[in-house]
């Protein structure tokens, strides 16, 4: 599938006349240049609606976001910098059969990751069996020694996971990375769906799209199932760093949808290893904390002492098993990009199964052969820092300058543990409605996986779009946007 099928010569009707596919797998158009069956209704609708109507619907969508205050704060700017979340109104479609594979694959993956976390914070059998080198785990900045020997409810370390998937040029879903610390984006998934129901209601119905609205209830159930022993009607709160955090909108949204209290570190107090909230009517005990504060900042007595976002003594309460933190502390060791390379091995080791979803091939810079190959082929590879997120600390070989490559060469050589490299996979493209035209842009997918008493995967997730033409960076902090994701009923 290397030759472009649709070119400027093959004219599609408006508003698709500027649409051209490349070697990437296209979410709407097949090899024959025609729309896939799953996206046919959308394609037809886009053709049928006059340009004015499309523009009007886009405006309706924009206004919805504006009035609801669905925003995203960009780091590093002055005050009052809430921006409306960038959004594209053409949904991205996944068939029921494709989704079934993804769902099983993600369930398998989170199960293995939870086993791994329990193992490395206890006996470390996977390490003594030499399946994963010890130093990869112990040299990870996010491995928290304080968690050794500590047991968590149901041995469930990861309650909320956002794994990023991409579709290869062959149309297969691959896992690009796991996000096991404080994954975000689910509120945009939920609000995108509301917008689509407003803007294209008949299309939603016609296509038969599986609902996502149960996410808040499912999350609440998951959190409830992780309550400390003996706490049968657990009090649950969402711990947020506060209004200045870029994901604050999501914190407030989820707290509201779940009907739980939104708190900051300063609202909580630990007394006798029990956590309480300061209420006007007195102290109220807290049993489960859905925490959106990073490990480093969560307790100034146990971690960074300069943190004002955390709760002094929280870790002791956690250790005494009087409170549950979701996600558990120390999960970062499993979403380190170097450890990610070993996840297929974890699946085989703990579950005795073959991975249903494959990883993207990954080269570890600590491995001499991998490192040599990488340094010789920097212009073809993507290099990533192992502990970063948001698309930062990354080199995209084919789009880089010689100077940038030299810089990464130095970085890799001076700190190999901190880098991995992967072949540049061309992300799949999906149609986006930009300035009255439909044009292709690269997308990925972030489904949300909940694990408590059972594993729940919400159908779809957040499809992130690299809105800049040709860009492969989908992160919202760097010019990315989102689309609604439609998983079809059978």
């Amino acid at each position: 599938m290397a030759t472009p099928i649709l070119t400027r010569d093959t004219l599609l009707p408006a508003p698709f006349e500027r649409y051209s596919t490349t070697s990437a797998w296209d979410e709407m158009f097949g090899d024959d240049g025609l729309p896939r069956e799953r996206t046919r209704p959308i394609f037809d609708t886009m053709l049928e609606l006059p340009a004015e109507e499309l523009r009007r619907r886009k405006q309706v969508a924009d206004l919805f976001f504006l009035h609801q205050g669905i925003t995203f704060t960009v780091y590093g700017r002055g005050e009052g910098t809430e921006q409306i979340f960038p959004y594209d109104m053409i949904p991205r479609v996944i068939t029921s059969a494709e989704w079934s594979v993804v769902e099983r694959g993600l369930t398998q993956r989170i199960t293995a990751l939870n086993h791994f976390l329990r193992d490395v914070y206890h006996e470390g059998k996977i390490l003594s069996d030499n399946v994963i080198p010890r130093d990869v785990v112990y040299s990870c900045r996010h491995y928290r020694r304080q968690m050794r020997g500590l047991s968590v409810p149901r041995d469930n370390y990861v309650a909320v996971c956002g794994s990023d998937l991409i579709r290869s040029p062959e149309g297969k879903f691959l896992v690009l990375e796991d996000n096991l610390r404080v994954p975000s984006g689910v509120s945009y998934m939920l609000t995108s769906r509301q917008v689509m129901k407003r803007v294209f209601p008949s299309l939603v119905q016609q296509c038969g799209v599986r609902s996502v609205d149960h996410y808040p209830q499912a999350l609440l159930s998951t959190l409830r199932s992780l309550a400390p022993e003996g706490r049968h009607d657990p009090s649950i709160v969402l711990l947020s760093p506060g209004v200045f955090n870029s994901a604050y909108f999501e914190h407030a949204y989820l707290a509201r949808q779940m009907g739980i209290e939104l708190v900051e570190g300063r609202d909580l107090v630990v007394h006798d290893n029990i956590v309480y909230m300061r209420h006007t009517s007195g102290l109220r005990r807290v049993d489960v904390i859905y925490r959106r504060v990073d490990d480093d900042f969560i307790d100034p007595l146990a971690f960074r002492s300069d943190s004002i976002l955390g709760v002094p003594g929280l870790f002791n309460a956690y250790r005494s098993r009087n409170v549950t933190l979701a996600n558990a502390l120390g999960t970062g060791v499993a979403d380190d990009k170097a450890v990610y390379a070993y996840v297929p091995k974890m699946i085989r080791y703990y579950l005795d199964e073959d991975p249903i979803l494959d990883n993207v091939p990954t080269y570890l810079m600590t491995n001499p052969d991998d490192r040599k190959y990488t340094l010789e082929n920097l212009d073809k590879l993507v290099v990533k820092a192992v502990g970063e997120s948001g698309g930062y600390g990354m080199l995209i070989g084919p789009h880089s300058t010689a100077e940038q490559r030299r810089e990464f060469q130095d970085r890799i050589q001076s700190d190999p543990r901190n880098y991995i490299a992967q072949p540049t996979i061309t992300l799949s493209t999906a149609p986006c409605y930009i300035e009255g035209q439909v044009v292709p842009r690269h997308v990925d997918l972030r489904p949300f996986v909940l694990s408590g008493e059972k594993v729940t995967v919400v159908p779809g997730g957040l499809t992130r779009v690299a809105l800049r033409s040709g860009s492969l960076v989908v992160n919202s902090s760097q010019g990315g946007g989102s689309k609604d994701t439609w998983v079809l009923h059978d």
Partner: protein, 320 residues
């Protein structure tokens, strides 16, 4: 509700009330300056600064223009209308979920409006228009608050802030004015500085209501009685304290007795003294002392609020 949220709501309204009072003072005094008043501009604005408890030393050589700027547009001056509105908005932002969308929209609108009129030189600005427009915006917000927010716990904290601030402001304004213009003779019929006494009433939007009670015969003792002890006029100290107590009663049903004992006692005592006091008694024991007493009690009530609902020691508050 979370103590932090109660704290923000309380302060939001204190700042809003403060902004409104300051704007009103500016409006009144700008008008007085035009009415051939004998007082110099510098002296007048210095007096106004005292009314809003602005920190400035006696020796400071601030000219009238600077002081007016400090009261209106100066974002660096904590007593300016602009600063108070900005602070109110900041508090509102922290508790966005607790207030109605209409309230938030209006706070935000007001905030953007006063920022837009940001000026560096008062001579280029229109302070009178600014003050009037700010005050209108603030009154609109007050109306929106009362009609769109649930009159529950959150609203009660808003009311506590508003009325405590109001009581304290009126007392301070009265004190500054009486010190300047009162000769001590309560029997005199005519008054010197007639315009200034009118100005005092206007500072509390009280002239018309005063007239309904006493006729247009403006006498210092009656003014003091009206602004201190009148039970029906919204900008009297007594009215403010009584509304404060009412909101407190609403909250009492929720909090434990131990922590609110002191707060209730202090508020009750102040309310009772205003209810049963007679103006002759106030003047014979000294108006200024009485007013200082009110101000002092307001401060005590403020810390009692913190002790009861916000900063209570953990020991006192553990419940099953």
């Amino acid at each position: 509700m979370l103590s932090r949220v109660a704290d923000s709501l309380y302060w939001m309204c204190r700042y809003l009330e403060r902004a409104e009072h300051t704007a009103r003072l500016v409006e009144v005094h700008l008008n007085l300056m035009l009415d051939q008043s004998l007082e110099s501009a510098d002296h007048r604005w210095r007096r106004v600064l005292k009314c809003v408890n602005a920190k400035c030393k006696e020796g400071d050589s601030l000219d009238g223009h600077t002081m007016l700027y400090m009261l209106t547009f100066d974002p660096g001056s904590p007593c300016s209308v602009v600063s108070c509105i900005m602070a109110a908005r900041e508090n509102a932002r922290q508790v966005r979920e607790q207030i109605s969308s209409d309230m938030w929209e209006q706070v935000n609108r007001l905030f953007h409006e006063v920022r837009r009129s940001g000026v560096n030189d008062i001579r280029e600005a229109q302070p009178l228009e600014f003050a009037m427009s700010a005050r209108n915006g603030l009154r609109l917000l007050e109306g929106i608050t009362d009609s769109t927010m649930n009159h529950g716990e959150g609203w009660s904290f808003l009311r506590l802030g508003r009325f405590l601030e109001r009581a304290s402001e009126i007392a301070t304004t009265l004190d500054v004015h009486f010190r300047e213009f009162f000769t001590g003779d309560t029997t005199r019929e005519g008054t010197d500085h007639h315009l200034e006494w009118l100005g005092l009433l206007n500072s509390c939007s009280a002239f018309e209501s005063y007239c309904k009670v006493y006729t247009a015969d403006v006498r210092p003792q009656r003014i003091a009685e009206f602004l201190l002890l009148n039970a029906e006029f919204p900008h009297s100290v007594r009215f403010s304290v009584e509304r404060f107590e009412r909101s407190l009663r609403g909250l009492n049903e929720r909090a434990s007795d131990r922590r609110t004992v002191r707060l209730n006692r202090l508020a009750g005592r102040l309310g009772a003294s205003l209810q049963f006091m007679q103006i002759d008694e106030v003047f014979s024991s000294g108006l200024s002392d009485f007013l200082h007493g009110i101000h002092r009690q307001s401060l005590q009530i403020h810390s009692a609020i913190y002790e009861a609902y916000i900063n209570y020691p953990v020991q006192m508050a553990l419940e099953a």
